[in-house]
């Protein structure tokens, strides 16, 4: 059902865990299946210096979180904002159709974190 890249990111997820002194933390959950993803960002000079995630969800949700954090690490906030679920699914080599909605969580949590970071600094959310 899942390809090797997805299974690799599921069984050996990158960037899993907590950043104790994160600059911003955001969480999002799927109303459908109840999956939850939490994103921790450390931001230096408008760039994502470090990122960690925690996910309660299926293999697709965990692998998507892992891949999404890999894709935004070191990127500017503008670049990270542009990350789409399709980018994540493509980087994973595709997800089974019923699992595509699981890749939304990571995108959504990262965008929430970026907007929260902007709001915290008195900037208008994107």
């Amino acid at each position: 059902m899942y390809n090797e890249t997805v299974m690799d990111h599921f069984t050996n997820p990158r960037n899993v865990g907590v950043i104790e002194d994160a600059d911003v933390v955001a969480e999002t959950s799927s109303p459908g299946c109840g999956d939850i993803t939490k994103i921790y960002l450390k931001i230096r000079d408008n760039r994502i210096a470090d990122v960690k995630f925690q996910t309660l969800g299926c293999a697709a949700a965990i692998a998507s979180s892992s891949m999404a954090t890999e894709l935004v690490k070191g990127k500017t906030l503008e670049e990270a904002w542009k990350l789409t679920r399709k980018d994540v699914a493509d980087a994973l080599g595709g997800l089974p159709e019923p699992k595509l909605h699981c890749s939304v969580l990571a995108e959504d949590a990262i965008r929430r974190a970026i907007n929260q970071y902007r709001i915290d600094r008195g900037l208008a959310p994107w």
Binding site: T11, G34, H101
Partner: protein
């Protein structure tokens, strides 16, 4: 199932999904593919001999249910038997009424057939269950209307293994002169069945759940109960289910059901002991784990458990990587993305339903298998919880 130390151990604990055909059953079947290939409807001797074997298998199935051979109709499996029972019974009863009573936790073979019948103009009541997955016979009685023509309640649930009070429900159905169907697919070989004592009019079964082959099952139709024919064609199965018989499958079903019902109590006691070791071990070693279903009124091989803070599909795939094969009512494992409707009907909160694991033990399993699962499972749950923003 043994794996040598050089190979990964393999532990199959999904006997509710399917079972391997037992070698004795396969041996009984094999001649009917080759030298005993005759068509049982043929008049010459090689046809008549196969006819005799088919009728012998019919007697074996009948004996396992306390039925008469003439009440057994072979078909392709449990899903077909359920479809035939429901559609066939309500079509034949149409003049008497249009109301069907079933439960929220039936197999899709019953539920989706009922939904189809609703589109054809029938009314269906889907009875709720309690937190153990039990149907209340009083609720069945209360749901009966003047135009109720069929009650269908499964003998044992496939997800949580709860054994339903079919005898009490059958008694109520018959007191009201209403046909009673039961899906006994999960129950054969685990629960002693007597269609007389249990007031059953229609019963579905499938061979591959009790060490018989896939692709063969049967529907019991009580003598005198009218149901519409399912497949039109030749005179096979008294013209009710036309088509040349799948003779090797029928012979296999007969051999498998006789074998499975030879010592139900001994078989169940052995499974129950292994299963209880598994359940007790998991509940003791894994924090925030719970048993789904009824503590006592459950199939002897069923261990359905929930683990807070993780997802069932993720758990299943991690277990698969360790050679343990189970199943789940995971939130995300189905295309719909919905939690298991059975657990939801039992009032299990959706997030816990998502982290459910169904291990069903059977003849393949040993104490070493239980030890292996108890060795591996707690660490996997811990690993997934370490990734979770809501570890429990």
């Amino acid at each position: 199932m043994n794996g040598s130390s050089a190979h990964k151990r393999q532990v199959y604990m999904d006997h509710a999904a399917t079972t391997p055909t037992h070698p004795d059953v396969l041996a009984a079947m094999l001649p009917y593919f080759t030298q005993e290939f005759g068509n049982p409807s043929s008049l010459y001797s090689i046809g008549r001999e196969v006819r005799r074997a088919v009728e012998g298998a019919r007697m074996q199935v009948a004996a396992a249910l306390g039925a008469a051979p003439g009440e057994i109709f072979f078909c392709a499996g449990g899903t077909e038997a359920d479809n035939w029972a429901l559609k066939g019974a309500v079509s034949a009863q149409r003049g008497r009424g249009s109301h069907i009573i079933t439960t929220a936790i039936e197999h899709h073979a019953v539920l989706h057939t009922c939904e189809y019948l609703e589109k054809q103009g029938f009314r269906v009541t889907y009875l709720p269950v309690d937190r153990y997955g039990l149907v209340d016979p009083d609720a069945v009685a209360d749901a009966i209307c003047d135009d109720t023509i069929l009650i269908s309640v499964m003998m044992a649930n496939n997800v949580v293994g709860t054994i339903e009070p079919v005898e009490a429900i059958g008694e109520i159905a018959h007191r009201h002169g209403i046909l009673f169907h039961t899906d006994a697919v999960q129950a054969i070989g685990h629960v002693p069945i007597d269609v007389e004592k249990m007031h059953i009019d229609l019963l579905s079964l499938s061979a591959h759940k009790f060490y018989g082959p896939k692709g063969i099952g049967a529907l019991f139709v009580r003598d005198g109960v009218a149901i519409e024919r399912f497949i039109h064609g030749g005179a096979q199965e008294k013209g009710q289910r036309a088509g040349t018989e799948y003779t090797p499958g029928i012979i296999g079903l007969g051999a498998a059901i006789e074998r499975a019902c030879r010592d139900i109590e001994g078989h169940a006691a052995r499974l129950r002991r292994l299963r209880d070791r598994l359940i007790d071990g998991v509940l003791r070693t894994v924090p925030h784990s719970t048993l789904n279903g009824h503590p006592a009124l459950r199939l002897p091989g069923n261990a359905s458990m929930s683990f807070a803070g993780i997802d069932g599909e993720a758990l299943l795939l991690m277990l698969d990587a360790e050679g343990i094969y189970g199943s789940t009512g995971s939130a995300c494992s189905s295309a719909s993305g919905e939690p298991s409707y059975v657990l939801t009907a039992m009032g299990v909160p959706p997030r816990r339903a998502g982290a459910s694991l169904r291990l069903t033990l059977g003849e393949l399993n040993t104490d070493e298998d239980v030890d292996y699962v108890l060795d591996v499972l707690p660490g996997i749950v811990e690993r997934l919880r370490a990734m979770s923003p809501r570890p429990a």
